[in-house]
C-alpha cells in the first residue's frame, strides 16, 4: 500500500487494517493518494485506499474491468451517531462488519476500535463541516438549519449532489451536535496508541 508522508487521512486506513489484524507493507514517499493509485494501476502496489468521489470516477471503471476488487468502506456516521454502510456504496461492508466476520464478535470497547472510530469521525465524517462562532444567536442559526432541510429536498440540488457529493445528504448540525462532541472527544490512551503505532510500526510521526 502507498501513502504520503506524513500519512494524513491515510492514518484511518492504517488503523482499520490494524484493527482487523492485517500487517500491510506500506511504502511512504508518495505525493498523495492520487500517485499511489497510479502505482496500484501499474501493479506496483496491491492495496489502495481512496475517497468515495475518486472511487466513483477513477476506481469503478477498474472494478468493472476486473482490475480492482473493492473490499470495504470506512462506514458512515448517521444522525443517530451509529456507523452504518456508506450511502454512496451501499453494497460494500464496513470495517465494523468485516471485523465481525473475521473475529466473530463486535470490536466495541477495544482500544484499536476506539482509535479507528475517532479518526473516522474527525477526519472523514465530521471533518467537512461549516462552523459558526460560539454564541451565535439562535435566530441566526435557525434559518441556516432550515435551509439545509430545504436544500436536501430540492430536486436540482439532489441531481447535482448525486454527481459531486456521491449522493450524501447534508446533515443538520443541531441534530448531530451531541454525536460530534462525543466523536471528537478522544481520550489520552487513544492518541497515545495512534502515535506509538505510527512511530513504531511505520516510522512516522504525526
Amino acid at each position: 500500500m502507498g501513502s504520503p508522508s506524513p500519512p494524513g487521512n491515510v492514518v484511518t486506513a492504517l488503523l482499520a487494517l490494524e484493527l482487523l489484524g492485517a500487517n500491510p507493507r506500506v511504502v511512504f514517499g508518495f505525493e498523495g493518494v492520487g500517485p499511489a493509485r497510479l502505482a496500484f494501476e501499474r501493479g506496483e502496489l496491491n492495496l489502495d485506499f481512496q475517497a468515495t468521489i475518486v472511487y466513483a470516477s477513477q476506481v469503478l471503471p477498474l472494478v468493472r474491468e476486473g482490475k480492482a476488487v473493492p473490499l470495504m468502506t470506512l462506514g458512515y456516521i448517521n444522525e443517530q451517531g451509529e456507523i452504518v454502510r456508506d450511502p454512496a456504496v451501499p453494497d460494500l461492508p464496513t470495517v465494523y462488519e468485516v471485523y465481525q466476520q473475521i473475529h466473530g464478535r463486535k470490536p466495541d470497547g477495544l482500544l484499536r476500535w476506539k482509535a479507528y472510530r475517532a479518526t473516522v469521525a474527525a477526519a472523514w465524517v465530521y471533518g467537512r463541516g461549516l462552523w459558526v462562532q460560539e454564541g451565535t444567536p439562535p435566530e441566526i442559526l435557525k434559518p441556516l438549519h432550515e435551509a439545509i432541510d430545504r436544500m436536501n429536498r430540492d430536486r436540482e440540488f439532489q441531481e447535482q449532489a448525486k454527481k459531486l457529493l456521491e449522493g450524501y445528504a447534508l446533515i443538520r448540525g443541531d441534530r448531530v451536535e451531541q454525536h460530534v462532541h462525543r466523536g471528537l472527544r478522544v481520550t489520552l490512551d487513544v492518541t497515545k496508541f495512534i502515535r506509538n503505532l505510527m512511530l513504531e510500526k511505520y516510522g512516522q510521526t504525526i
Binding site: V27, A39, S57, P61, Q160
Partner: protein, 646 residues
C-alpha cells in the same frame, strides 16, 4: 472525434468567448514577462473573474492564461538575463548571450516561433494521445521514473560546461539544495538549521532568480556599458525565423519531449524544458557554442515549455493527478461546474476537452503574435546603458522572489543564491546542472524511496526499462574514459601545461568540499527514511569535491571562457552585492516602497549620472508603475519592521 472537435471550434465563433480567451492570453503574457512569476500566478489572477462564466468560457480563459506564460517569459530571460519563470532559465543561458552579442531580435523571434509551433504540436499531441494516454502513463513505474530523473541530472552535469567534474558537482549541489526541507518519506525536516523559513525548502523561483537573474545583473553592472556592445537592427527577425526552419526537426523533438514531461507525473514544465535542453546538447555534434549563445539551445527548450502545459492536462484530466500547481487550480475551478476528472470526462465532457485544446492552440498563436509585435520596441532595451535599467530590474526580481512565501527569508535566499550564481559564472562552473539538480531532487527522491520500498533488494535494476535508461546514462562516461585513454596514449610526451592557480576557484572548491562533508555529518542524525537519498548525493559529492580541490590546487581547474576575472571586476561585483544587501536590508527595515525609491535614486544619480530632475521623474514613474501593477495583480508588499511587520 473530428465532429466534436469541429463543434468545439464553432464555439469560438462567438465573439464574446473569443474576447474572454484574449483576456486570458493578455493576463498570461503580462505575468510571463514579470520575472519569476509563472503559471500559478496567471491562473490565480484570472480565477476570481471566472465565477460568473459558464464552464466553456471559464475553461477558455484559464487555458488562455496558462498557455502563453511560457511564450512571453522568454522576453525577460533573453533581454535582461533574469528568468521570466523558472522554466525559461535555459533561455537565459543561450538567449541572453545572443542578446549580449546584439542578436536579441534573432533570439526572440526564434524563441517565439518555436514556442508557437511547440504549443501547436502540444495541442495536436494532446488530441492524439487522449485515446492512448492510459497505457502510456501506466507503462513507466517508479524505477523507470527514478532512472529518468537520474539521467536528467547526469546528462546536464556531464554535457554542460567544459569539465565533467565541475558539471556533476554542480548537479549534486543542486540535488543537495533540493533536499532542504521536509523529507517526502519520513516525518523529518532536513538541513533546516533551526530556521523556520528552511522547513519548507527553498522555493524554486528564488533559486532560479538568484542563480541567473541576480548573478546576471551584478555581472552586467560590474562590466559596465549596455547589455549589447554591438548593435544589429532589422535583419535579426528574419534570421530567427530562418533558424527555426533550419532546425525544424529540433522544434518537433523539443515539443515531443515537452509533451512527455507533461504526461509523466511529477516532472513538470521546468524539468521538461531542461530535459529538452540537455537533449539538444547531447545530440549535437558541435557543442562548442553552447553556453555562448547557440540558437539551438533556445529553439528546443522553447518548443518544449509550451508543449509541457498541453501534456500536463493528460494526467490532470484523465487521472486526477495534476502535473503542476497551475493544473491543479484548473481542475479545482472545473469542479465548480460539476466536472470531475477521470475516464468519464472523455465521454461526458468531450466538448469541453476540445474547447480546452482549441483554446490552447488559439492562445499560442495569438500570444506569439503579440510578442512579435511588442518585441522590437523592447529589444532596444539592450542598447541602453545598463546602469539605467538595473534598478527597476533588481526591484522587480526582489518583488517576484518575495511573492513565493512572503517571508524575508526569500530575499536572504535570493541574495545568497545570487552570490553563488555569480561566483560560479566567474569561475567556470556551469550553473544549469545546479538548477536541473534542484528541480529534479524532489521527484528523484520520491521515486527512489518508492522503488526501494516496493521492490525487493535491487530486483528493480533488472527491469528492461531501467537497464536501457542505465545504459544511456553511463554511455557518455564510458565514451569520455575511452577518448581520455586514447588521448593520453597519443600525447604521452606533452604534459598539459599547468594553468594558473585561481584563488577564487580554490576557495570555492574548498567551500564545496566543506558543504558535502558537513552534509555527511548531518545525515548521520537522520531517521532511515530521510537518510537514504541525501547519502546517495553526499558520498559522491565529497569524493568529487576532494578531487576538484586537488585539481584546483594544481592549477588545472579551467576557468570560464572569459578567463579568470580581473581584480577590478571582482571588486565592482562585490560592491554590487554590497548595494544589493543594503537594498534588501532597507526593505526589511523600512518596507518595500522606501527601499525602491532609495535604490532608484542611488542608481540614477550616483551610477548613471542622470541629472536631478530626470532622476526624480524616472524614480516616481517606476515606483508608480510598480504600485499600479501590484494592485492589479494583488501583490504582497514587504512593509518593513518600522511599520509593524514581524
Amino acid at each position: 472525434m473530428l465532429d466534436a472537435a469541429l463543434t468545439a471550434l464553432a464555439i469560438f465563433a462567438d465573439p464574446a468567448r473569443l474576447a474572454l480567451l484574449l483576456a486570458g492570453v493578455l493576463a498570461g503574457l503580462v505575468v510571463g514577462i514579470l520575472p519569476g512569476m509563472g503559471g500559478i500566478v496567471a491562473v490565480s489572477l484570472v480565477l476570481p473573474y471566472i465565477y460568473r462564466l459558464d464552464a466553456i468560457a471559464a475553461a477558455a480563459v484559464l487555458t488562455g492564461a496558462l498557455a502563453v506564460v511560457h511564450t512571453s517569459d522568454t522576453i525577460t530571460s533573453v533581454l535582461i538575463g533574469a528568468p521570466g519563470s523558472a522554466a525559461s532559465a535555459t533561455s537565459v543561458i543561450e538567449g541572453h548571450q545572443l542578446a549580449k552579442q546584439g542578436q536579441a531580435a534573432r533570439a526572440l523571434s526564434a524563441a517565439f516561433l518555436s514556442s508557437l509551433i511547440g504549443g501547436l504540436i502540444g495541442a495536436l499531441g494532446l488530441t492524439l494521445s487522449i485515446p492512448i494516454a492510459r497505457p502510456l502513463v501506466l507503462a513507466l513505474g517508479a524505477p523507470e521514473l527514478f532512472m529518468l530523473t537520474a539521467l536528467g541530472v547526469s546528462f546536464a552535469g556531464s554535457l554542460l560546461g567544459k569539465e565533467t567534474r565541475k558539471g556533476l558537482l554542480a548537479g549534486l549541489v543542486g540535488l543537495l539544495l533540493g533536499m532542504i526541507g521536509p523529507s517526502p518519506a519520513a516525518a523529518q525536516v532536513r538541513f533546516d538549521f533551526g530556521r523556520l523559513y528552511l522547513m519548507d525548502g527553498v522555493p524554486l523561483v528564488v533559486v532560479a532568480l538568484g542563480i541567473f537573474g541576480i548573478a546576471e545583473v551584478i555581472g552586467l553592472l560590474s562590466r559596465g556599458g549596455a547589455i549589447a556592445q554591438r548593435v544589429e537592427l532589422g535583419r535579426g527577425w528574419m534570421q530567427g525565423i530562418r533558424d527555426v526552419w533550419q532546425h525544424r526537426w529540433l522544434v518537433l523533438r523539443g515539443a515531443l519531449i515537452g509533451v512527455w514531461a507533461g504526461i509523466l507525473p511529477a516532472l513538470g514544465a521546468t524539468a521538461g524544458t531542461w530535459m529538452a535542453y540537455g537533449h539538444v546538447v547531447a545530440t549535437s555534434k558541435d557543442r562548442s557554442r553552447f553556453g555562448k549563445g547557440d540558437i539551438r539551445g533556445i529553439i528546443a527548450p522553447e518548443a518544449a515549455n509550451n508543449a509541457v502545459a498541453a501534456g500536463d492536462l493528460i494526467p490532470t484530466l484523465l487521472f486526477w493527478v495534476p502535473g503542476s500547481a497551475s493544473a491543479a487550480l484548473l481542475v479545482g475551478s472545473l469542479l465548480r461546474y460539476g466536472i470531475l476528472p477521470g475516464p468519464r470526462i472523455m465521454t461526458e465532457h468531450l466538448d469541453l476537452i476540445y474547447v480546452i485544446i482549441w483554446s490552447y492552440a488559439i492562445a499560442n498563436v495569438v500570444g506569439a503574435g503579440i510578442c512579435f509585435a511588442i518585441s522590437p520596441g523592447l529589444a532596444k532595451v539592450t542598447h541602453v546603458p545598463f546602469v539605467r535599467i538595473a534598478a527597476p530590474v533588481l526591484i522587480t526580481i526582489a518583488l517576484g522572489a518575495y511573492q513565493t512565501t512572503q517571508d524575508m527569508g526569500d530575499l536572504l535566499a535570493l541574495f545568497l543564491m545570487g552570490l553563488l550564481g555569480w561566483v560560479m559564472s566567474r569561475t567556470g562552473w556551469p550553473r544549469a546542472p545546479l538548477l536541473i539538480g534542484f528541480v529534479l531532487a524532489g521527484p528523484m527522491e520520491r521515486y527512489f524511496v518508492q522503488t526501494t520500498g516496493i521492490y525487493n533488494q535491487g530486483e528493480w535494476i533488472y527491469r528492461p526499462g531501467v537497464l536501457i535508461i542505465g545504459a544511456v546514462l553511463v554511455a557518455p562516461f564510458v565514451w569520455g574514459l575511452v577518448s581520455w585513454v586514447r588521448r593520453r596514449r597519443e600525447a604521452r610526451a606533452e604534459t598539459a601545461p599547468a594553468g594558473q592557480r585561481s584563488a577564487i576557484d580554490l576557495v570555492f572548491s574548498a567551500v564545496m568540499f566543506a558543504v558535502f562533508a558537513g552534509a555527511l555529518v548531518q545525515i548521520q542524525r537522520f531517521v532511515p527514511g530521510a537518510r537514504l537519498m541525501p547519502l546517495v548525493i553526499a558520498v559522491p559529492g565529497v569524493v568529487l569535491a576532494a578531487f576538484q580541490l586537488f585539481r584546483s590546487w594544481q592549477g588545472r581547474s579551467l576557468a570560464g571562457d572569459e578567463g579568470p576575472p580581473a581584480a577590478g571586476e571582482l571588486r565592482s561585483g562585490l560592491m554590487g552585492f554590497l548595494a544589493l544587501g543594503g537594498f534588501f536590508l532597507l526593505i526589511w527595515v523600512a518596507g518595500f516602497h522606501v527601499a525602491a525609491v532609495a535604490l532608484m535614486l542611488l542608481f540614477s544619480l550616483a551610477l548613471a549620472r542622470m541629472r536631478f530632475v530626470p532622476a526624480i521623474v524616472y524614480t516616481a514613474a517606476i515606483v508608480a508603475a510598480l504600485t499600479g501593477m501590484g494592485m492589479l495583480l494583488s501583490i504582497h508588499w514587504p512593509v518593513g519592521i518600522l511599520r509593524g511587520a514581524p
